[in-house]
Symmetry: C2
Subunit: 259 residues, 2 copies
DNA sequence: GGTTGTGTCTAACATGGATTAGTCACGATG
DNA sequence: CATCGTGACTAATCCATGTTAGACACAACC
């Protein structure tokens, strides 16, 4: 798959670095430290637990490749997904301070997941540029969570699904995984429902309406957005909260970007 | 009002410091820098905008006293509240990187709000202990947002309201504002509804059920929780995500706590 | 002490989305 | 090639919550 690279000409971009450098360029030494995290990531099959609620892991996990989801199981068996994690996303930074996981995380697809010892995280956060970048990434995650609350709380099912698709489109684009308004969306209708507080039955109805209105096609885990502007409008989507800097999307294979 | 102090014996505790020190004690110099933030906070009336969507403020705002809410207005006039801000909470840390506000923030009660220039934030975040503490606080905020998503997405109205009350109880306790299972809760039923994706009519029905089941009383902006354990259970509330350290709740006016 | 505004509470009715219980297509597996 | 499992899709019915509209209590203000 051809991808947009925001780092150095010919190598595949490293999603974590691409994401963090959306805000500001990192010192080379820091980029090297980050790049090292991914080298011996573990392969995991689809639908495997990365961590469970209640765990007190001694590693921080980072998605290097593939998709995962953060989810909370309720006593009555209902599931609420609170995040979709894509390459470059940390799974459980908060566990250092929270002590135990208050939710679980599972892969959705075959994935590569880095297991980072606390000692390494400790070392990384000694670097001023990195701790700042991590904090900023957390602030962006927060903005995403807020938009999900709006989705679930006050948008109807049609708008909510549309909004989620727009969000994933922009995030995938930010890490260079969109090609011509098309990207892999390996979510079942049930997973989409669990993210938006809907049933899979209702998600199905909504997707059909999105297709009927010629906004998207979605088949075999591939999503194509036919009319992004109209979808954005129908869903009330404004990408400002994701902080897209043009310079990260544009320069494709022109070498490192300086400020 | 008598409060639990986690700082120095006789003075009123500073909520921001209390909150940040839930995780780890800060160097005295850092505490002094934080304490300085509150000294010339501005008085604001109830229901005043602190910032509006689209603003590009040149200050970061901090709630020193009173309550505020983060809210998003939708095209159809609906409002979704995404956070209740209490003393010690920052309003808009993310605006530095996001550029513009993607939502508004308004006071709910008479408040004191500190306006902190970016240059001061910049200086504070040069201090290793402080930037770490800010990041941690952001991670806790994230955990709160996740629990709201679960509230709105998969809990029914009764559980959701109960869960919110438990959350606010614990957070208020963390900053020393709970006395004998009782605290100020200056929210209208409409505001509670806007936080949980419900109408005020339905919130009213639920509150009456909570009273009928003898779990709470709520009158004139004062909430008393009669049976916290039962409420916690009815709402499926587990405070682990808020990271309560006993040592912050316990030591009541015994002077500074050291690790 | 009337008026105004705000918040609480109630009732009657309407509905978006849940629930339940399937069918069907397809890929993987033995 | 029969079987199994999973995900997409459909239809009929139901219910938690929304909508609308108004009564009531109380505080602030002239």
């Amino acid at each position: 798959m051809a991808t947009v690279t925001a780092q150095s000409g010919d190598e595949a971009p490293i999603p974590l670095i691409a994401k963090l450098e959306t805000v500001v360029r990192l010192p080379d030494e820091d980029r090297r430290a980050l790049a090292a995290l991914g080298v011996n990531a573990r392969e995991m099959g689809a639908r495997r637990n990365i961590i469970r609620e209640g765990d007190r892991p001694d590693h921080v996990h980072l998605i290097v490749e593939g998709w995962a989801a953060r989810y909370k199981l309720l006593p009555d068996g209902a599931r609420q997904i609170t995040a979709f994690l894509i390459p470059g996303d940390f799974c459980d930074l908060h566990v250092t301070i929270l002590g135990e996981m208050d939710h679980g995380i599972a892969t959705l697809t075959r994935s590569r997941v880095a297991f980072i010892p606390h000692s390494v995280m400790e070392a990384l956060t000694q670097r001023p540029a990195l701790i700042k970048a991590f904090w900023w990434a957390t602030l962006v995650d927060e903005a995403v969570l807020r938009s999900w609350i709006v989705n679930v709380g006050r948008r109807d099912a049609f708008e909510a699904v549309g909004h989620l698709l727009c969000e994933l489109y922009v995030r995938m684009k930010n890490v260079g995984l969109v090609e011509d308004h098309r990207f892999d969306l390996p979510l079942t209708q049930e997973e989409i429902g669990d993210a938006l507080g809907l049933t899979s039955v209702h998600v199905n109805r909504v997707l059909q309406r999105l297709r009927a209105e010629d906004l998207i096609s979605l088949r075999h885990g591939h999503l194509t957005i036919h009319d992004y502007r109209r979808l954005e409008k129908a869903a009330g989507f404004n990408p400002n909260y994701l902080h897209i800097e043009r310079r990260v999307q544009a320069p494709a294979s022109r070498g490192p970007v300086t400020l």
